[in-house]
Amino acid sequence: MAEITAGVKSKSKSTLGHKIGRFALHNSVTILFLIICLIGIKLSGLPLFFIVNELLTRVTRNTFLVLALLIPVMAGMGLNFSIVVGAMAGQIALIAVTYWGIGGQWGLFLSFALAAPVAVLFGKLTGMLLNKTKGQEMIASMFVGFFANGIYQLIFLFLVGTFIPMTSKRMLLSSGMGLRNTVDLSTNESGTAGIKYALDSIWKVPFFYVVIVATVVAIAWFAYKLLNSDRWHKEAGARKKDIRNIVVVSLVAVFSMLAMFAPNLLPKQLAGFGRLKLSFFTALAVASLAIFNQIIVKTKLGQDFRTVGQDKHIAKVAGLQVNKIRELAITLSTVFAAWGQIIFLQNMGMLSTYGSHVQIATFAIAALLIGGASVSKATIGQAFLGVILFHTLFIVSPAAGKNLFGDAQLGEFFRTFVAYGVIGVALGLHAWKVMIVASQNE
């Protein structure tokens, strides 16, 4: 909202309606979702602190997986439904580490290290396949996930304990063949502590301390930009943008300080916010991937991704190895997905052997699209916004369904309907645009 009001003030009034209209059109999915979330929060009757606390946990554990989607979008391969395969690599590593009885931080880092080569192999194979299905990458990557799930089940239901030697009363089914439906990550095979919370529990800090530090850094950065305006500002209006940013960030800083040091001054519902805790290293991992995604755009490799993404033929003429670059994009995404799944599961503390990976692509993609991304363009900001909105709906919808219709299940059906519906609508709109552009070019 801040963006429009600021923009409008600088321009003549006649464009106001036009601008708002265009803004609403371009962000229709996000705006619609924001409204659904607000209604859901109201209907659920849940305390605000509960929602925000739950949301903070979910954002830290899920955003890594959503960020794993960005590179293939840049490389023009659309939304990578085959991050499911990456998640499988992560789970394979977790199962191995739990079986060997290596817990805590060592177990966690070992599973990161172990998952990487497996994910590279899976990603490479997926990339090769997607090179054979150009133009149909998204649906093909979806079936890659389904197909790989069949192989995964074959291995963990039938081959483990028979052809793959493994003996464990705790993890195997009573027949000695196949893994149980759930693997408890809080304890290991040997009975020692598992990798549950191995990353989360390293350092927990009050959330708003982190926000205060972040805002101070941000204010300093914008102030530095303002003072050196000749170096940074080539275009008019950029200076205004900086001033506006400083104001917004300062407001956040003031709120954080109030929450931490003077909760009595805040409205009753917000007073407890100082108690919010952030898992520092999990958040750091998410932030690192976000920064990595930001930096890679500036590198030669990032430029190659974008060139291939914009036009495969021009990229080929320019001497780029299109297929290799596409394989690399998918491989990176797969490796990140594997790590993302490990981060997700160390927080959950429980691996559902045959279920944890199945829905992650749908939910990650739905979240990204809700944030306003499209098949051809996705940013880090959209990823964060999307995760926040999508998971707000996830938190409030069972309670809202119960209050509205007396049935929590209804809310659950509704949120799944919305997840699939958003993907369908977003992909449909994109396909429609592509078709219109194609018919105009003819």
Binding site: L129, N131, K132, T133, K134, G135, Q136, M138, I139, A140, M142, F143, V144, F146, F147, N149, G150, I151, Q153, L154, L157, F158, T162, L173, S175, M177, G178, K312, N323, F405, G406, D407, Q409, L410, F413, F414, T416, F417, V418, Y420, G421, I423, G424, L427, G428, H430, A431, W432, V434, M435
Partner: protein
């Protein structure tokens, strides 16, 4: 000789070859370890009739140019609605079956028409978008199964809200087609009525495809630009193909339910498009070309494989449903293979 072999392999495709060899091998093993072959054949015949029309639904979709119809759940849910309305009004036996079909067809025509109009706006991404449209419709209707005012005691939970997850058809129109003129030769059971029903629908479809409109539909699916130039209404024929496919899915679902003995609600229709798509692909179809013979060969191979896999595998692994895992691998493997032939990596 080697050259002819290579040409044949390329024509049939490696995955189909593997599946066929696997199929033959499993049946030989079944003979060798003395499994009750006649019971298995009976099972295969029943499954053939049960799934047949759902697979037939792929044919008009492929002909009209929308590709594999992954939006099949839309039609399937129309069939479920038809069945529920028939039960609600207390219809039993053949009357129940025909009322279910008679209600389902107009519903499916409306849904198919809207769905066809949508597909005309997203040419080139039909399979992807229709998958998610189908998925979301399944969950929308899951809400429907809770709030819709059905109140027949056979359908509702005795306590609590909404309809049951599975609704038994024992007392209404379950097995009426299967039992019609059923032939028992020792252990071999032939569900004559079910097979005849499939044959009748296949024949009707075949006649339509050979008619003037059927040929025009195929022409506009094969080469839309050429068809437009020759004055055919390509978009209209795409809608026609979609409507036909949706109607067949609805009828197919009712035939499936009466043979299974239950109507399944909620998430049951979610994944039902994929086995149907896999069957026709295994039979030799592609996302652009399909014949009724592909349907027949495909179901025999695919369902035959699933029928035989479980008893054969249980001689090796004593527990677990390996048939389900095999279905996932074969089904999604063949769909992936078909997708590599759609775009064809330049």
């Amino acid at each position: 000789m080697a050259e002819t072999m290579r040409i044949y392999t390329r024509k049939i495709g490696i995955p189909r070859l593997i599946i066929s060899v696997f199929f033959v091998m499993l049946w030989i093993v079944a003979f060798a370890v003395d499994l009750p072959i006649l019971t298995l054949v009976s099972d295969l015949l029943r499954r053939f009739g049960m799934n047949g029309i759902l697979v037939l639904a792929m044919v008009p979709a492929i002909h009209s140019g929308i590709g594999l119809n992954f939006g099949l759940p839309l039609g399937i849910i129309c069939g479920v609605l038809g069945a529920l309305i028939s039960i609600q009004f207390g219809m039993v036996g053949f009357v129940g079956l025909f009322v279910a079909i008679a209600v389902a067809i107009p519903l499916a025509m409306i849904v198919g028409w809207l769905y066809g109009l949508m597909l005309n706006k997203i040419k080139g991404s039909e399979m992807l978008v229709s998958t998610y449209v189908g998925f979301s419709f399944v969950f929308l209707m899951s809400i429907g199964w809770i709030v819709l005012p059905f109140n027949h005691p056979e359908m509702r939970w005795p306590i609590g809200q909404g309809l049951r997850v599975t609704i038994a058809l024992e007392s209404t129109f379950g097995y009426v087609l299967n039992n019609l003129g059923m032939i028992r030769l020792g252990k071999l059971v032939i569900p004559t009525g079910l097979l005849l029903f499939f044959a009748a629908v296949a024949l009707l479809l075949g006649i339509f495809l050979k008619s003037k409109h059927g040929i025009a539909m195929k022409a506009s699916g094969d080469n839309p630009k050429f068809a437009t130039a020759s004055g055919l209404n390509v978009d209209g024929y795409r809608v026609l193909g979609t409507v036909l496919s949706t109607v067949l899915a609805a009828v197919g679902m009712i035939a499936y339910a009466q043979s299974y003995g239950y109507v399944q609600l909620y998430q049951a229709p979610l994944m039902m498009a994929f086995p149907a798509a896999a069957a026709i692909l295994i039979g030799g179809a592609t996302a652009k070309k399909a014949k009724i013979s592909h349907v027949i060969i495909g179901i025999i191979l695919f369902q035959g494989l699933l029928t035989i896999a479980l008893p054969v595998a249980s001689t090796i692994f004593d527990k677990g449903n390996i048939s389900e895992v095999l279905r996932m691998i074969v089904q999604n493997g063949i769909i992936l293979y078909a997708l590599t032939k759609v775009g064809g990596g330049e």
